[in-house]
Symmetry: C2
Subunit: 358 residues, 2 copies
């Protein structure tokens, strides 16, 4: 396991109590892994009461052999470990103007952890997919009613077959070396690297193989890109792959620095491809220079970067960090507007003041 | 006194505990006056311990007769009542991108109240201004050290003579019919209508008439419009007059409405001149229609407006409200960027969903 930071125990920024939604303090992104108790939380419904000893996971649908597994049986299956970040699809929503529907996340809806569990593929191989298998539905135990909807529903999301069979798509029972906390999906959750966090379904109770596209509320109505205008009933593009992004973790917004040399730091990631470069501007985007990008050891973790800035003149500066991935996706100055403000990845800018030493 | 709303007792949105900074819930702007305990608070230093019986106000400087007043003596002077709003210079800062230095106020740093006290002019007349008098300095009892500054300072702001002598510039000891609460400046505060709130100095202990421009930190360094770039030591324009603005108080951000007729509501104000009109767009700014503007009964209060919207089609809508004052100042789509994000008055936009009735 990599370094776990945050010994000073700052607290989560709570955006909502019920359902629980809370963000990781920005300063804690300044390491490779976020401590478990400070990992961001985005739940849709109340945390369900789960007892691992009573729990089982059913694998059903378009498979040769349906079966179910107890927690003990699951832990006897081949163990996979993975360092991976999760990012809420609504992360950085506050950077989109005019502000749209949804919780006003700053940048605190992203965290990275060491996960351990069983590859989803291992279970699908054991069940045996029928030729008609098209999608794999992940069903959580959490239930409730969403605003504007009349019926109670559970939280469920599906994966296309290639994503479901990707060996890094995990059913995780451990996070940073210990069993999942209740608010993170105990006893079992999905971890779908490279996709926004809503597909990493928590409190898993059933894996259902489908022969047709899933049409659940969260997948086809909520986590979709929609523009303004009258609703003509047409389907909308689903939110899936995490857009390329970098964050400046030091200095903080409005920080006072003295004239001299400063080591700017941050993290960068992309769902589509590894990060190729991070560039830094200290003059509001006129001149860009490459930051030093560290290897992360995992394709699905963020990469830390550092940039040495010679701040020679007192004044007011806007520091910007722009990441580009190996598929040449880069960050926009303004992320495209969509009704729920998903996938907000505009270039992060941090204003600082440089002063003469006292 | 006008209607005081808020019987359900929601709470202030606390942005900082020390110094205390807290915003009025948006739904409470939906009346003519905000309840005293929910009026927004923007302090720079800890609330000083003040005892009205021990307190006195000194009037000093370039006057014929310096004098001081006890609380009892002050209350025997001619009483002036005034309905007026105060707005924090940083209000709506969160709407400016990229986010700048300072507390990320949404739109909750504005409130209106009924004030009672003595016109500042009454005291200046009694003291007798000398011909050299140029400015009137308002000195508060609150003290502390600002970030990046080494010296302790008190909070003080000056007024040019025309603003100081304006009969509506008030020294207030009552707010909504009761003595000021400690966090609002007990026993005495300034209320400078038409100017952003930082000049309405709280916990007043001295009125000093100056024969030269005041150069205090908050006035010449903090509450000024500055751009990015090296600091060449040149002075910057001071933040004074409240920019024209309107807010949509109903519906709220992301609210679900049914197909049908809805009465949109809000408030509008301007420091420079009375509000001439408020226009509403329900189609993201293509078509604008006049709202019905109510008389407020006071030049310095906000004006409520209402607009009847026939929402005939289900869909996603962005409602915008744009105010224009009698000097033809109107609200920009994006407010000009300045380093501390002061005077942010871009057009308020609220996304809503219109659904078919169940």
């Amino acid at each position: 396991m990599r370094q776990v930071i945050g010994s000073q125990s700052p607290s989560l920024n709570v955006l909502s109590q019920e359902p629980l939604v809370a963000g990781t303090p920005m300063s804690l992104l300044d390491g490779q892994v976020v401590p478990t108790n400070l990992f961001f939380i985005r739940n849709h419904f109340p945390v369900p009461a789960m007892d691992a000893d009573q729990w089982s996971l059913k694998v059903t649908g378009k498979v040769r052999d349906e079966f179910s597994l107890t927690y003990a049986e699951l832990k006897e299956m081949p163990r996979t470990e993975l360092e991976a970040l999760l990012e809420c699809a609504g992360n950085s929503r506050a950077a989109i103007q005019p502000p749209i529907e949804g919780l006003l996340w700053d940048h605190s809806g992203v965290s990275s952890a060491n996960w351990a569990g069983v590859s989803l593929r291992t279970l699908l191989d054991r069940a045996g997919l029928l030729p008609s298998a098209q999608e794999v539905l992940l069903i959580g135990a959490d239930r409730g009613t969403e605003a504007g909807e009349s019926a109670e529903m559970c939280f469920a999301m599906s994966l296309p077959m290639d994503k479901a069979l990707d060996p890094s798509t995990l059913l995780a029972y451990e996070m940073n070396g210990v069993p999942l906390l209740p608010e993170h999906g105990h006893p079992l959750r999905a971890v779908v690297p490279g996709w926004y966090g809503m597909t990493s379904v928590k409190w898993l109770v059933e894996i259902q193989v489908l022969d047709r596209p899933f049409q659940g509320f969260h997948q086809s109505e909520y986590y979709v890109y929609r523009d303004l205008g009258a609703d003509d009933g047409s389907p909308a593009e689903r939110v899936t792959s995490i857009k390329v992004k970098s964050l400046i973790t030091w200095p903080g917004r409005g920080q006072m620095l003295e004239v001299g040399t400063h080591r700017l730091r941050g993290v960068a990631w992309s769902g589509a491809a590894p990060v190729a470069k991070v560039e830094i501007s200290t003059d509001d985007g006129w001149e860009w220079n490459a930051a030093t990008l560290q290897e992360s050891g995992s394709r699905h973790a963020w990469q830390q970067w550092e940039y040495v800035w010679e701040a020679t003149e007192p004044g007011r500066y806007l520091i910007r960090a722009r990441a580009t991935d190996e598929m040449n996706n880069s960050q926009p100055v303004s992320a495209p507007w969509n009704f729920r403000g998903f996938a907000s990845n505009s270039i992060h800018a941090v204003p600082v003041v440089v002063k003469r030493p006292h």
